[in-house]
Symmetry: C2
Subunit: 462 residues, 2 copies
């Protein structure tokens, strides 16, 4: 059976479109964090939407399940096959072109496999901004970004990926191509079916093309680093900054003093300001003049009233890059400190200080000796509450400790990383039965045979 | 059977929660435009989500279909019952409270039946902006706004209603309450099921509560009216304005010279600037200083290079209101001119000039004597292309003429008004079969008996 399928796929895809050698499949078989090693039957690399549809039909006819994959940079194991040796990886990376850019209508159309950075650069060349920015942007694909509803550092101003999707082209579980790749800013004609495929990680259909919204590129940018005495002070600073800068704020990142200890100890990176127990990195952008003056005025006010202890506004682009490097190297510093359990949680923004306090108590009591490395997107209520474990500690127990506190604050156990295979069990345990049942109803309607990315987001088929 | 149901509903809702007298039901039975007169069995007015669930179960058990209704201000007949006398109207208007406001986290929670204007005012009282604004805001409910994915004049900057929904509380067709009324800015834990109920006009479930995103209230606003020689010049003006003002632009409205003729002839309203063939109304808002200077600079540049023929920037709030009154009275002027066919269409923004030219030719050739009253949200590619008919002309034929041109530009036949019962046949005719089939798959999965708002958005049950 599998020999027949491989012959059929080879006929559809040609020699450059199918990988069957184990060594060549290695990078498609395991996730970026190397937590979920799998073994695919083969890796199909279609060059067109029509080929994707043919691959779907062939696999379905042969009873082989399909795992769509973009840049394979996900953090939840959502794009890799299981270890059965029977799943086919469908890699979209050969469909990698920007299809069209409209700088006045502010739209960009691209193949699903187009690298996010390539799309960003194409928008920049047209004088516009594609406002999705995340660490993996040099490898992540726009189709993966949409399929996982990716977040990143600009969510505060521009929203998650979903908010930027104007159109999609999708292949359904039966091989039907649904072309919804419209370039319209407004379209209320019937159900907005593309929503079904955003953030559902390829479990309801395969995204083959996207139309994304662009925004005007801000002419002026300010980047500032401040030290603050507490998370509550950081929250007060957010309110103050919003008062002065309105919705020009594109990033408002909170980082713990411990995060900065790790940067110093392992990477010799230090803050150019006096230390506080916490740090905040703010970025704002605008086309209007007056941005820097407003930022300086906000900083002065924050220092004056004690919300901030010290602070600096970058004078040059290079300085801004240095400030961002602090934020971006935190996970690197953490990795050099020891083994950690990562949590990508969100709570209502005003609850962040109370959440941090409660979670710290839970860890101190339940996992003594562990160290908390908390940082993240305070402006979105999204904290990466990572716990560096003491020797012999149980990661799963720490997970439960943290997520129990999240539940007390009506938060989410996955703010931006998705569920993949990593968090399925926990999602099922923590979500209300009515929501789980509704999700299963949708899955059964669109993919009754559990053919698409089985075991991701929802339970694996029995 | 219906007597039993009414007794059961009366027991659930009490005397103030059920209307059965025909005279008292009149305002619930017909839409605002008075195009779709219906006859309900009764009007149920629950006071809580639990009562909504009980009403759903009682109606379902009795085999009576349910038509959810908010402020009944829709333009597509989506919230009124058919003429059978067997459908129950479920009015949410007794559930009308703002539940909570978080000015730092920028969220507002409300019952579905809360009037949009009440929610706007509550946000304003907290120093924040609920950026959904539309003509019917004094009667429309937030639940209706979400259920129809309403647009309005701020879409250019803030998106349609969908972009502002953080959480929903929903009652399903079997009476299950699904509480997704989370206050989170980011939540990627599993399928984002609330998307199923946004813009689906009550056909998949009943929205009973909403959590909406607020934004900082801009400190400075500029409102300008310009006359321009052509739609292409208006598009050039949009590019110029975006260059100077970035994404501070919240409204960019195009109005034809004929629209202004109607204002003058029937309402004695005149533009305070020299006439052009077309007019543009622009509004922008920012927290930064420098907005007015940038607007003045943009106006000077537009006059200098001939993009604009004349223009004025409002000096006071009262003047801004006067400029907006011109835009807001166009439909009133149109109504006094004669019977018209309305079209709420969108095309890619850059295609608007070519669309208008092609549609004008189609009307001149296919419906000689008819007059085109075109206006709308150019910044969103959304044109209200209304046609004032000559005596004896066939409205349906004019509909077809206009929508055929929309199809040539890959546009939408409903940019913001939805489908309701008004556009069902045309939607089915114009959408690709794969999309229609997918919509029906979702409907069957969530509402297999066609119990919720039958005949709206999708075909009526046989």
């Amino acid at each position: 059976m599998s020999t027949d399928l491989i012959a059929r796929l080879s006929a559809i895809l040609g020699p450059s479109g199918l990988i069957t050698e184990e060594a060549d499949m290695a990078s498609y078989a395991i996730d970026w964090r190397r937590l979920f090693p799998g073994r695919p039957l083969c890796v199909a690399r279609p060059a067109s939407t029509a080929e994707v549809a043919e691959v779907v039909k062939a696999c379905r006819a042969a009873g082989a399940r399909l795992v769509p994959q973009g840049g394979n940079t996900g953090l939840a194991g959502g794009a890799v096959p299981d270890a059965s040796g029977g799943e086919v990886v469908l890699s979209l990376t050969r469909m990698n072109k920007v299809r069209a850019i409209d700088p006045v209508g502010l739209t960009l159309a691209a193949d699903a496999g187009c690298i996010l950075k390539v799309a960003q650069d194409a928008a920049a060349d047209a004088g516009r901004l594609l406002p999705i920015s995340l660490a993996a942007e040099g490898s992540a694909t726009v189709g993966g970004v949409v399929s996982t509803n990716a977040g990143g550092v600009n969510v505060l101003r521009y929203g998650m990926a979903r908010a930027l999707v104007l159109g999609l082209e999708v292949v359904l579980a039966d091989g039907t191509i649904v072309d919804m790749a419209r370039q319209l800013r407004k379209d209320n004609a019937g159900y907005d079916l593309k929503q079904l495929f955003i953030g559902t990680e390829g479990t309801l259909g395969i995204v083959t093309g996207v139309v994304l919204r662009l925004v005007p590129r801000p002419k002026h940018t300010v980047t500032a680093l401040l030290s603050v005495p507490s998370p509550q002070a950081a929250l007060d600073l957010l309110a103050l900054a919003q008062e002065e800068l309105g919705d020009t704020i594109s990033a408002f990142e909170l980082m713990s003093g411990y995060s900065f200890d790790l940067l110093k100890r392992h990477l010799s990176l230090t803050a150019p300001i006096a230390a506080g127990d916490w740090f905040v990195l703010i970025e704002a952008g605008a086309s209007l003049s007056g941005l820097r003056e407003a930022a300086e005025s906000a900083l002065a006010a924050a220092l004056e009233n004690g919300t901030a202890l010290d602070g600096v506004i970058a004078e040059t682009g290079a300085q801004a890059t240095q400030l961002w490097a602090l934020r971006e190297h935190i996970t690197d510093g953490e990795a050099r400190e020891g083994k950690s359990m990562k949590h990508d949680v969100s709570v209502p923004i005003v609850a962040v200080p109370a959440f941090l306090e409660a979670a710290d108590i839970a860890i101190a009591e339940g996992a003594p000796g562990a160290k908390v490395n908390a940082f993240g997107h305070l402006g979105d209520g999204n904290i990466h509450y990572n716990v560096v474990m003491a020797p012999g500690q149980d990661g799963a127990a720490i997970n439960t400790l943290v997520h129990d506190v999240v539940a007390r604050f009506s938060g989410s156990i996955s703010a931006e990383h998705g569920i993949g295979q990593y968090r399925v069990d926990e999602l099922l345990r923590r979500r209300a039965p009515a929501e789980v049942a509704l999700a299963l109803t949708v899955k059964r309607a669109l993919d009754p045979d559990n053919f698409l990315n089985p075991g991701k987001v929802l339970p694996a088929p029995a």
